[in-house]
């Protein structure tokens, strides 16, 4: 129950944070913390800006933005590693969180069978993406390293570089995914007691939530273009 509530709150907050920052960027407002008057403007902006994303034109724009981002980064057949990662992750997140939030029983039946199968595909494609793309997300220089260190000391700094954010959430996503893989594997092995298994499942769930939040942030930071 706690997990369901926490998931809803965090995902909702994450959507709000992403869209609110977009709103601030578009409006040219530098104030970070929402005031009631700002929230009203934000709501009006959302009512105006969100629907086009769900129109045919919006889909086309999204597709072209995605392809523009993918093409230089995943040339040739490598695109399939990203595609399989994205598709398997989408299913894993939808089925796992969907059942965790909306079903008291948890994941079961055919969705569970597919969840386990998608897990294998996800692990493979994650390993491939890490092999091909990890070097792009290592710290560039000492300045970036210092910024990261500052951010770690005070995560609410205003001047968190977008590039650094991209790198952080990438590695956050990778770490959460590795935890997902190892907890899933642990649950299948006859080495852990019942209580340990309960712990593994809890860790698996919270890692899944973390990976979803990281993925959302990454897509916002890296894929969606910074324009009005």
């Amino acid at each position: 129950m706690l997990f369901a509530i926490l998931s809803i709150i965090l995902i909702a907050f994450s959507i709000f944070r992403i869209t609110y920052y977009r709103f601030l960027a578009v409006s040219g407002i530098s104030r970070l913390y929402p005031a009631p008057s700002l929230l009203a403007k934000y709501a009006a902006w959302m009512r105006k800006s969100a629907p086009p994303y769900f129109s045919r034109d919006g889909w086309k724009k999204a597709k072209s933005a995605l392809l523009a981002w993918v093409a230089p980064r995943y040339p040739g057949w490598r695109i399939w590693t990203l595609a399989s990662l994205a598709l398997s992750f989408l299913y894993l997140a939808a089925s796992g969180l969907g059942f965790a939030i909306f079903s008291r029983r948890g994941l079961y039946g055919i969705p569970l069978l597919l969840h386990v199968s998608a897990g294998g595909l996800f692990a493979m494609s994650l390993a491939a993406v890490v092999i091909f793309r990890a070097r792009e997300f290592q710290l560039e220089d000492k300045g970036e390293a210092s910024a990261l260190a500052r951010c770690m000391v005070c995560p609410f700094v205003m001047d968190f570089p977008l590039k650094l954010l991209e790198k952080c959430v990438f590695w956050g996503y990778i770490l959460a995914s590795l935890v997902l893989i190892i907890t899933a594997l642990g649950s299948m092995m006859p080495y852990f007691t019942f209580k340990a298994q309960l712990g593994l499942i809890e860790i698996h769930r919270y890692s899944a939530l973390a990976s979803v939040l990281a993925a959302m942030t990454f897509v916002d930071a890296a894929v969606v273009p910074r324009s009005s």
């Binding site: 294998g120 890490v130 260190a149 590695w171 499942i201």
Partner: protein
Amino acid sequence: MRRHRRSNAFRAAAVSAFLLAVGWAAAVQQEEKWDGNRTSPVHQIPLKDEFNQIIVPTEPNPLPVSFRYSCEPCHSYSAIEKGSHFDPGGSKDPGRPGEPWIWVDEASGTQIPLSYKPWKGVYDPGELGLTPWDFTLMFGRHLAGGGISEPAEKDMTPGSRWEVSGKVEINCLTCHDGSRMHDHSEWAKQILRENFRWAATAAAGLGEVGGIASRLAPTWDIYDGPNPDDSEWAVAPHVKYRKNLFDSKHRAFVDINRKPDDGRCLACHSVTPVGAKKFDVDADAHASGGLKCADCHRNDIRHRMIRGYEGEDKDEPGLVSRDFTCAGCHLGEAPEKGGKGWSGRMGAPYPLHKGIPQVHFKRLSCTVCHSGPLPADEAARVRTARANRLGIFGIARWATNVPVIQEPVYVRGADGKLSPHRLMWPAFWGERRGKDIVPLAPERVRRAAGEILSPQSGIAAVLAALAAAAPDAESVPVLAAGGNAYELSVDGGLNVSAGMEEKRAAEAFWAFKKAESLTPAVPAFEPEAAEIDPDVQAQVQRILDALAAIPGIAGKPALVSGKALWQVTDGYLQTSENPGPSSSTAEIALLAGDEIRPLISDFELKTVIATVGTEYILTEEQVRLVLESLSGREAAPGAPKSGPFVYVSRGKVFSLNAKGKLVTEKHPAAGPVTWPLAHQVRPTRQSLGVNGCKDCHGFNSPFLFAKVAGTGPLKTGKAEVISAGSFTGLRGLYHRFFGLSFKVRPLLKILLLGCFLVGAAIALLAAALALGRVAGFIERRR
């Protein structure tokens, strides 16, 4: 004199009422009165009879022991009589289903599950016309007394013989006797003899009981004492006490076990696989570990037994049953008011359940993996003490193969968890009433069916008669037919002759069996010969004479061969012309006027071949004939309107259609009756799943996909077959695919581990590089 006895009885009743009141008060405070010492006191106590008089064993004609009065001074009978074993309808909530009593009438092919508790699929004995008297007589062999077997005056139904037999008071010693002299077989014997009030005394070995109450006139009562006119047949029951048990103050030593020995429980609760060898049967894991049944199945003075299933505390709020579930001892149930559980009670090991996903503990009861036989393609057949009358020893064999009880099937309970169950298929003749089918009393069916239900009787009568014509003492008359030889059984029926199985006989013929060879009863001879061998003639005459002695035989025995007919006239074997069709072989037949009839009918022969030596009792032809007979009887002028009639067996309902053809259908009344099993518990190393997930999750796993075929008395190819999934509610196709996934699961595990290692290695490398940059050890080369 009579008046004096009545006034004594009144006084005894008044005293009893007073003592009961005192006893109740004492019982209520009994637990408080316990001084804390854990030993059981020696029970050197005065034994009392049912009039609350002390038994003096040296007196003439002492009465049997009454535990109501013998135990009452210290233990409240009125509190105990509400106990689980004595009061079948006692609890407000019937609780989890238990094993029903099964009313078996082999002759009519009846097996009806009965219970006074409203469990699913069982019938209330009262609704089927069974009075407490009938029930006690039928099942008293495995009842502990009290309850319906000790009815109040107002509950005594006409036709019962409680005045003669006495009531079956609670037999405290049936559980608490520590003596090895306690004899359950004696109890069963005394109950069958209607020696109800004497049964406990005899079973406990306190005295020797003679006489048979069932032979006494219905007017006899305990005041009448011995029957001076008959010392052979209608002998009134009487006791000769073992005097060495009594001291000079007439106090008897009764070896009491406060916590009954397992043997006392197993007398009525044994369950054993069919065909198992005694030396090969292991004890329950708990018993092997030194626990007694009563260590978990506890009770207080009220004798409401802890059954130990999850949720029992809600059905029986007064019991501390939650502590004695599997989880209660092994896991330690967390107290409702918070705090940690107290596991390990009575040395119960704490289960680690390594590698078992959580869903198993949500959806399965502990017994699924740890109790009963392992699932196989077909459910195992077991015999239970109460259903199959086990544990009653003597010259006569009491144990029966019917009803067939199978285990395990996994049924989802009210708590949503699967648990292993035993199963039996009801079989009975019934009458449709609206959508329901109401069982008919076997007696009514037998009356309507007449000879149809006893096809063996004619053949048995012939075999019994042929014994007189046997050439020597070792030769046993048999009927060779259908590839078997059938001989007379000890109870007057037929058995497949031992050692003769699979010895094919071309046609049916009467023969004598000696060792393992068959000699035709009528020796081979040439019927057209001018003179027949005198030995053959003598043998034929012996046979015809023997057959002529069969009571009620429907003709004169004769031997027919070719165109000739031999019969015994005036003590001589005479030949004449065969009035019937010429016979190619010598056949024994019956001559009725000018008509030649077979000695046994085709129907009898077919039915015997189809059923004797098998687990079946009836054929479809018999069912059709009985249904016709029942319908015919009901259609008779003046008969009360009833029917249509059906026969329920093997999961189907058999009835006659408009054309008189036997047709089948499914019906809830024909469905199996199940009840959970909890024993025997297997050790961890033998639990289901010890070999891994594939114990249950496979493409054809018996746990999920076993078939349970309807069993019952009817030989038919139309028996219902139920898949395990219909009990578990688990979808077959999904679980087949799910099972299939376990084939590739090792590969998946390797894949996950490999991917994790690759990802983790790169992440570690990146982390090391980042740390190096933060620390200034590494500068990026430009």
